[in-house]
C-alpha cells in the first residue's frame, strides 16, 4: 500500500473577526491515493473552497498538517519550492475571473511556461498545450471576451497543466457552464487524468456529477467532514442524515434516478451562519433523527463500515474488522 498522494490531518482554519471566530474548517482529516478523483461535496459554508485554498497554500491552516507525496507541505505557497508549487495546480470556479481580460490566451499561457526551461519555442509549447485540451490552436491570439465559458475553462485547465503538475485542485470547474458544455469539459479532464497520470481534488456541490466522476466522495458541512466513502459504497448506503437530505434535494430527471434517492428526507431550515454554530453537532437543528446527545456532543468521525466514515451519533460503533490501519 503506497503512500497516499495527499493527506490532511487535524486541519483547522479559523478566521478571527470582530464579531467572533469563523471556523471555516474544524478538525478535518482526509487522504487520497495517486490517480484518484476525490470528490469534495458541500454547500455554502461547508469549507470546501477553504480546503482547496489550503491545499494550494493560499491560506495557511490555523493548525494541522497536509502531506503531499509523503512530505509535509509548507503551509504558505511562497514557502514552497518552485518545483512544489508547480506540482500542485488549481482550476478556479468562475471562468470569467480566472483569465485576465486584458491578456490573450497566448499571454496567459506564457506565464507558467516561461518559468521552466525548454528547448522548444514558446509558440510551439503554447500550441501543444492548446492541443492537449482539445482547443484549436487559432485560439492562441484570442482574448477572453471572445471565448465562451467552456472555452475559457479549457484555457484555465491548459494553464494549470502548463507546469506538469501531479495533483490538480478543481474548484467547481463546471458549475457555471451549460450542461452540454459541462460534459465536454469533464470528458477532457478525465482523458487528461489518464494520459498525464493526474490526481484530482474535485470540489463541487453536484452529486450527480460526483457519481460519475469521482472514486471517493467526501461530504462536508459547516467546516467538518460528515461522511467519506468510495463512490459506489456511498451511493449504495448513504449514512449521514445531512447526506440523505442532500441526496433527496437533488433535482433529477429520470424516474430511475428518483428511485435511487433516499426516502424523502425533506430539506428544512437554513444553513447556520458561521458565527452562530449550534452546539453539539452543528447539523442538529435541521436533522430529522436528532437525539438529545446531538445537541450537546459533537460526534467524532469514525469508520462505521469498511472504508466508510461517518460522524453521527446514529452510528456509535466503530467497525471492528478493518483490514490494516
Amino acid at each position: 500500500m503506497s503512500d497516499p498522494i495527499l493527506a490532511g490531518e487535524g486541519l483547522k482554519k479559523y478566521f478571527p473577526t470582530r464579531n467572533g471566530v469563523i471556523k471555516a474548517i474544524d478538525e478535518v482529516k482526509f487522504q487520497m491515493e495517486k490517480g484518484e478523483v476525490l470528490g469534495v461535496v458541500g454547500e455554502s459554508g461547508s469549507g470546501k473552497t477553504t480546503l482547496g485554498n489550503m491545499i494550494m497554500g493560499i491560506y495557511p491552516p490555523t493548525s494541522g498538517t497536509i502531506t503531499f507525496k509523503g512530505e509535509t507541505l509548507p503551509s504558505r505557497a511562497k514557502d514552497r519550492s518552485i518545483q512544489l508549487r508547480r506540482d500542485i495546480q488549481m482550476v478556479f470556479q468562475n471562468p470569467a475571473s480566472s483569465l485576465n481580460p486584458r491578456r490573450s490566451v497566448r499571454q496567459a499561457l506564457e506565464v507558467p511556461l516561461s518559468i521552466s526551461k525548454d528547448s522548444r519555442s514558446m509558440g510551439e509549447r503554447v500550441d501543444e498545450l492548446l492541443e492537449t485540451v482539445e482547443l484549436p490552436i487559432e485560439y492562441a491570439d484570442r482574448y477572453p471576451e471572445e471565448l465562451g465559458g467552456g472555452e475559457k475553462q479549457l484555457v484555465a485547465i491548459a494553464r494549470a497543466l502548463a507546469t506538469n503538475p501531479s495533483l490538480a485542485v478543481l474548484d467547481e470547474p463546471t458549475s457555471s457552464l451549460d450542461v452540454s458544455i459541462q460534459a465536454k469539459i469533464i470528458n477532457v479532464l478525465m482523458r487528461l487524468k489518464t494520459r498525464l497520470s493526474l490526481s484530482y481534488v474535485f470540489i463541487t456541490h453536484n452529486l450527480s456529477l460526483m457519481r460519475n466522476v469521482s472514486d471517493r466522495v467526501m461530504i462536508m458541512y459547516l467546516g467538518k467532514v460528515r461522511e467519506v466513502a468510495t463512490t459506489d459504497e456511498f451511493f449504495r448506503n448513504p449514512m449521514h442524515p445531512y447526506t440523505r437530505m442532500l441526496l433527496s434535494s437533488i433535482p433529477v430527471i429520470t424516474e430511475a434516478e428518483e428511485a435511487v434517492k433516499p426516502e424523502r428526507t425533506q430539506s428544512v431550515g437554513e444553513i447556520a451562519g458561521a458565527l452562530n454554530l449550534p452546539p453539539g453537532c452543528s447539523f442538529n437543528p435541521r436533522c430529522s433523527y436528532v437525539m438529545d446527545v446531538c445537541k450537546k456532543v459533537d460526534p467524532p468521525l469514525i469508520e462505521v463500515a469498511p472504508k466508510h466514515w461517518c460522524d453521527c451519533h446514529l452510528y456509535p460503533n466503530e467497525h471492528k474488522n478493518t483490514p490494516g490501519a
Binding site: 465562451g148 452540454s180 458544455i181 457519481r211 435511487v260
Partner: protein
C-alpha cells in the same frame, strides 16, 4: 382565451459586430392557472422572451416582429400607463440573483412598503401597509417577519433574500409570475425548499407561472408543460412528463442525455459542435450544425409538427413528407 400569447416573436440586438438575430419566431401560450417551463442553455433567448413579455428589453434591442398579447391586449403597443398597471397589479418577475433585485442601501421595510403602495390605487395607511407586508412575508415562509423588515439585504442569507423577492413579486403577481432561474444561485438544499414553497403558493392562489431555467431537474416537478428553446427558437413543446420520458426533438434528446445521472452510467458525452452565431444564423433550422439527422430540407424553417404523446417538435423528421423511411 389564453392569459398570455406570444406569437411569432422576433427580437434582435444591435452590437459592435452587427445585429444579433436572437429570437426567430417564438410562440408561447399560457392559460390561466397553468404553469409552463422554458428550458434551454445560456443565451438561447429565454430571458429575452420573458423580458419582451414585460417590456423590459435593453436599449439596444430591436423588436423585429411578432406580438405579445396579455389577456387579449397587445402588450408591445399599449400605453405606458396601461403597461404600468399591468406590472403593478397583475404580473411580476423573480430574478436569478437574489441580491440584484434588492437595493442594498434600503431596508426591506422601505422596499416592500413602496411595492405595496404602488400595487394598488387605494390609499393605504401605515398600519395597513405594515399588515400587508407581514402577510406577504409570512406567505413566503419567512420566520420573524418583523426582524426581516428591519434588516438590510446584506444581513440576510441567499435563501432568505430570494424568499423576500418572492414575497415582493407576490404583491403584484396576482395573475402571472415569471421566475427566471430563481434557484440557480442558491445551495441545492435551499433551492429545493424555495421551489417547493413557490409551488405551494402558486397552486394555492391559482397564479400562472413561467419558470425559466437551464437545470432540467428543477423544472420537472414544478410545471405542467415545457417549452425547449435552442438558439432563439422553440424546438419542442409538450407535457412535462412526456418531454422528459420520451423526448422527440434531437436537441432535447441530446440535452437530456448530456446530464450526468444520479444512477451512474459514466460521464455523458456533450453535444458536439457549437451554438450558431446570432450574427449569421442558419437560414432554416438552427440546430442544423449539430444535428445527426440533418436532411436537405432542413435549410428551411421547420414548423411545429405533432410528435410523441401530446408533444410538438420543430423538426422535419416529424413532417410526413420528409420522414426518412
Amino acid at each position: 382565451m389564453p392569459l398570455l400569447e406570444v406569437k411569432d416573436l422576433r427580437v434582435h440586438y444591435r452590437v459592435y459586430e452587427g445585429v444579433l438575430k436572437v429570437l426567430n419566431g417564438v410562440n408561447i401560450s399560457l392559460d390561466k392557472g397553468e404553469k409552463v417551463g422554458i428550458i434551454g442553455e445560456s443565451a438561447c433567448g429565454k430571458t429575452t422572451t420573458v423580458k419582451s413579455v414585460m417590456r423590459l428589453l435593453a436599449s439596444n434591442s430591436i423588436m423585429a416582429g411578432g406580438e405579445v398579447r396579455y389577456a387579449g391586449e397587445d402588450v408591445l403597443k399599449m400605453s405606458k400607463k396601461r403597461l404600468s398597471d399591468l406590472r403593478r397589479k397583475r404580473m411580476s418577475m423573480v430574478f436569478q440573483d437574489p441580491s440584484a433585485a434588492l437595493n442594498p442601501v434600503f431596508t426591506i421595510k422601505q422596499q416592500l412598503y413602496d411595492i405595496i403602495k404602488f400595487s394598488t390605487d387605494e390609499h393605504l395607511s401605515r398600519e395597513q401597509t405594515h399588515e400587508r407586508a407581514i402577510t406577504y412575508l409570512k406567505r413566503a415562509a419567512l420566520p420573524e417577519p418583523d426582524r426581516i423588515l428591519e434588516s438590510y439585504p446584506f444581513q440576510l442569507s441567499g435563501g432568505m433574500k430570494q424568499r423576500v423577492n418572492i414575497a415582493m413579486a407576490l404583491v403584484s403577481a396576482n395573475e402571472l409570475l415569471i421566475a427566471d432561474e430563481p434557484g440557480t444561485s442558491l445551495d441545492v438544499t435551499i433551492e429545493d425548499q424555495i421551489m417547493r414553497l413557490l409551488k405551494k403558493i402558486v397552486d394555492e392562489k391559482g397564479i400562472s407561472v413561467i419558470l425559466i431555467t437551464h437545470a432540467l431537474g428543477t423544472v420537472k416537478n414544478f410545471v405542467d408543460r415545457i417549452y425547449v428553446m435552442y438558439a432563439g427558437t422553440i424546438v419542442e413543446e409538450g407535457p412535462t412528463k412526456e418531454v422528459f420520458n420520451n423526448p422527440q426533438h434531437p436537441y432535447t434528446q441530446m440535452l437530456i442525455r448530456a446530464v450526468p445521472k444520479l444512477t451512474g452510467g459514466g460521464v455523458p458525452e456533450g453535444i458536439l459542435g457549437q451554438v450558431p452565431s446570432y450574427l449569421t444564423p442558419p437560414p432554416g433550422c438552427r440546430f442544423i450544425t449539430r444535428c445527426p439527422y440533418r436532411m436537405d430540407v432542413c435549410d428551411n424553417i421547420p414548423s411545429m409538427y405533432p410528435a410523441g404523446t401530446g408533444q410538438r417538435a420543430a423538426c422535419f423528421l416529424f413532417d410526413e413528407r420528409h420522414r426518412p423511411k
